[in-house]
């Protein structure tokens, strides 16, 4: 089975554009009538739903930002009443406020469809045993892949993240054929396997669907070699639907966007002009089938480019290049999105002004580690060791609670953290992508 839904995945450009146009027009209408915050944006630009007649009109529409979801927290961007929402997911926010998304029954159906296509791209079918080692819960990773796996009739092992030894034991004993997790976790598993004396030949693993963080071609090679599998990249974000927005096929030359549900654009993040195919810029998505929280021209802050040529695999859907960076300061650490400003808001709880801080991210033994340097100030200082260690512990705990990942905290002397033009550098990322 090469495609899950060939009529959509191999649709001609002409047909696709016709379908997208119809769906876009409907979505604009629904949002205009049901989401006051976006209606106001349109009114400010002097646009009415009737002005959107072709795909080319998309660029007339105002952008949606992550801040719009935060400003209308929790349900302000929903276009369906809560009575029709069957699921709520959330992702971490920068100032403690989460980004909340809601799914109607039809949205869950769409989500299952796109993740089914993703898994089939990786070679899955109803005989596959799919081990979902993405986190289950408010994070969309686990459940998203889970639905796709059930949709194609595969056997799902919903193990969620963590407990690596058990993951490997189950992978071996149950005969897992497809692994879904973050790429760094896959490498970490490979490492643990070596320690446990389990060889790749002992496993039935054939492919891995890896995403939720940036990774390089070198990392792909290493994973493929050490686990003896095909490793493919999967992309998604909860605002758009979660995992399944786009995925690589066996050709591994760009991620096929599920265009019948999500229209991608590449823009210049500064001038906000739409850029031609092939140009690198910020990826912007418009959802055209979602009901719960349909978003128009959502600024992902991810840097990519688009390629409309037909792929060797036979799919005609546009391919986005592997995400190569961000237009903002967001970091992805162990699959979790982290903004430096989150650290700042935590530190503000410990005094009137936040001390200078620096995030040092590294990858040690294939696991992301976060160290936070905090410059000592008058408020944190004491002549007693136990009081300083106490503050250190409290900061570490508060950061863990806010970010959802552990970090080490190191108190450093004032002026240790380099300043440029009076502004401190907030992040040193030593990981190589």
């Amino acid at each position: 089975m090469q495609y899950w839904n060939p009529s959509c995945e191999c649709m001609s450009r002409e047909e696709m554009e016709k379908l997208q146009t119809e769906r876009l027009i409907e979505t604009v209408k629904r949002i205009y009538h049901n989401v006051p915050a976006y209606r106001e944006k349109m009114q400010k630009k002097g646009i009415e739903p009737g002005d959107i007649k072709t795909l080319d009109d998309l660029k007339k529409l105002p952008f949606t930002y992550k801040d719009d979801l935060r400003d209308t927290y929790p349900y302000g961007m929903f276009a369906a009443p809560l009575s029709e929402i069957v699921r709520i997911h959330a992702s971490s926010g920068t100032t403690g406020k989460q980004t909340v998304v809601g799914y109607t029954r039809k949205d869950i159906d769409t989500w299952s469809e796109v993740t089914a296509r993703t898994l089939v791209s990786a070679g899955a079918d109803k005989h596959s045993l799919i081990q979902v080692a993405y986190g289950y819960g408010l994070f969309t990773g686990g459940l998203g892949i889970h639905y796709g796996a059930e949709r194609i009739g595969a056997s799902v092992i919903p193990i969620s993240g963590g407990n690596t030894k058990r993951q490997i034991q189950i992978m071996k004993d149950f005969g897992t054929t497809i692994l879904a997790c973050t790429p760094s976790y896959a490498l970490y598993m490979a490492e643990e396997m070596e320690e446990l004396g389990i060889k790749k030949e002992d496993l039935k693993l054939k492919a891995g669907v890896f995403g939720a963080e940036q990774w390089s071609e070198n990392m792909r090679k290493e994973i493929e070699e050490r686990l003896g599998i095909m490793a493919i990249d999967i992309y998604g974000l909860s605002e758009i639907i979660g995992p399944g927005v786009s995925t690589e096929c066996c050709c591994k030359c760009g991620l096929h966007v599920q265009e019948d549900h999500f229209i991608p654009e590449i823009i210049d993040p500064v001038t906000e002009e739409v850029l031609p195919p092939g140009s690198k810029g910020e990826l912007v998505f418009s959802t055209i089938t979602k009901e719960g929280i349909p978003l128009l021209r959502y600024r992902t802050r991810d840097i990519s480019s688009l390629n409309y040529e037909k792929c060797e695999c036979g799919r005609t859907t546009v391919r986005m290049s592997k995400v190569s960076g961000r237009t903002d300061d967001m970091l992805t650490i162990r699959g979790v999105n982290v903004f430096p400003s989150q650290i700042e808001s935590v530190l503000l709880e410990f005094g009137d002004t936040a001390p200078h801080y620096l995030l040092i991210v590294d990858r040690i033994d294939n696991l992301d580690v976060l160290e936070i340097w905090v410059e000592m100030n008058q408020q944190l200082f004491s002549d007693q060791v136990k009081k300083i260690e106490d503050s250190e512990k409290k900061i570490r705990k508060a950061i863990e609670e806010t970010l959802g990942i552990s970090a080490t905290v190191k108190l450093v002397e004032p002026k240790t953290i380099e300043r440029s033009e009076g502004k401190a550098k907030r992040v040193i990322d030593k990981r190589k992508f």
Partner: protein, 143 residues
Amino acid sequence: MLVKQISVFLENKSGRLAEVTQILAESNIDISALSIADTTDFGILRLIVNDPETAEKALKDNGFTVSCCDVIAVSVPDEPGGLAKALKALEAESIGIEYMYAFVGKAENEALVIFRIDNPEKAVEMLEKAGVKVLSSDTVYKL
């Protein structure tokens, strides 16, 4: 009767202590007593100097994190049981010691000890009542 102690935050890296003493030397500060509490990552340098205000300002101006607190300086006879007498007096009143350190003074046959106690006024009263010699700040700064 209380003595001002200056505390300085130091990272565990070479040259930091030398820098502190250099800054103090340039400000004409004489160090009477010194102690370092250290952990794996950082240390706290505690100093008794002849002019705490000037020392605090000089170090702060040079970017160090500095705080100032009151400590008690006592002089105990340099003989067995000398320190025990002072500690017993504090224990009798359930006064907890946050930390303490001894230092070599110039007076013969006397050991000088610094106590950091949360309620120092009461501690001084107890020590004096027990006949322990509590030193005035003037005396200590001149050491």
